[in-house]
Symmetry: C2
Subunit: 206 residues, 2 copies
DNA sequence: CCGCATCCCCAAAGATACTG
DNA sequence: CAGTATCTTTGGGGATGCGG
């Protein structure tokens, strides 16, 4: 939206920079780390090469991301967020939290993208930053939540280990259904953390 | 963007509902309370009546807002957010916080919309919810911040009263410049709160 | 191959006029 | 007041081309 909103308002100002179609999804991808043009294109199904190029140019001009050449051995260039762009993390997280409320349950097929679990844990737990050490094994992903910090892979000495399918994980958060959820360790700690994280209501009309 | 992003991702899901041009600005307006069609049109300079009508229809279909008829004496209908739509408050606030970082200083002319001060205080202080009672008199607006709650109008027995022009208020937050800022009461309390609220850096390229 | 630029087409936004 | 109808303009989707 190169078109200006003609308002002295920070929301309008922000949307003029990252409000166009695809922009925040590009930011979402780059929040996971620098990526090449082709990887972005693959991670954003249906974006169209011209639109991706245009968005990258716009976002670079806005100071949200920067193009960087990798050192000679690997002749590739990557896009990465600037500090200014990194500050969009809270925006993306809140969008995700809101979006979660009306997400359908995951199918048992393969619609989950690799590396989705750390993102999901960040979305769910970052605002509460629970004490304790947790390990989540969901589908074929494993991630840890240690004192509010999310990391891929197993935890060192977890207080609780939770294992479930993506669908069971979904229903645990939306309806507190424990069917198909296996817990090892301090189950009460887990329950307290779930209550604190509580915001996923799935109370929607459409 | 009725066009779907074909991704099982809460961010994409959210943007499919409120990611179109103007949508989040309409939500921003309705966060201040129910509004009539004409008031929305006036608050959104340049929106065009057809686009506004289309967005309202889309947002209503998505369950974000609802159309309500006021009781007979006043033959008017208003649009108001549903609980689902109200949950967008955090999204709008984070967008505002990010947008603030690259906002230019307010001109001394009249670009501020009436009622802007409570919104600004919410954006700046809601995440830290400072203890204490503050009264802000900026330009011709007055608002109170009492134990983290923002309200229009003066405070009852404020610990601090801050008076400034919009521009001085801006530079106080961006560069900690106290020129043109008048403080009555517990100035140290105010300084501590400012340090806590700290996020407005104005460190931008473009 | 990767990293785009070009071209064409259609859907959506802008602007304005008009109506129940 | 609260929209609809119509027209123009802009921007996105899709395919293809092309230099390094």
């Amino acid at each position: 939206m190169p078109k200006h909103y003609e308002q002295y308002c920070p929301v309008a100002h922000a949307l003029e920079r990252v409000g166009e179609r695809w922009s925040l999804l590009i930011v979402r991808e780059l929040l996971k780390g620098p990526k090449r043009y082709t990887d972005l294109s693959a991670a954003l199904p249906g974006i169209g090469t011209n639109v991706l190029a245009a968005r990258l140019k716009d976002l670079e001009a806005a100071g949200v991301l920067a193009k960087r050449r990798l050192p000679p051995p690997a002749p590739a260039q990557v896009y990465e967020l600037t500090a200014y762009g990194l500050a969009l993390k809270n925006v993306v997280r809140e969008l995700a939290r809101w979006g979660l409320q009306s997400m359908p349950a995951p199918g048992n097929d393969d619609q989950l993208a690799p590396g989705w679990l750390p993102d999901a844990l960040d979305t769910l737990f970052a605002p509460v930053a629970p004490e304790g050490s947790f390990e989540f094994r969901i589908g074929d992903e494993v991630a840890a939540l240690v004192d509010g910090e999310v990391a891929p892979g197993p935890a060192e000495h977890p207080d609780v280990v939770l294992e479930a399918t993506p669908a069971a994980f979904y229903f645990l958060f939306t309806e507190r259904r424990w069917d198909g959820v296996e817990v090892e360790g301090d189950r009460e700690l887990l329950e307290r953390v779930l209550d604190a994280a509580a915001p996923v209501d799935a109370t929607v009309a459409a």
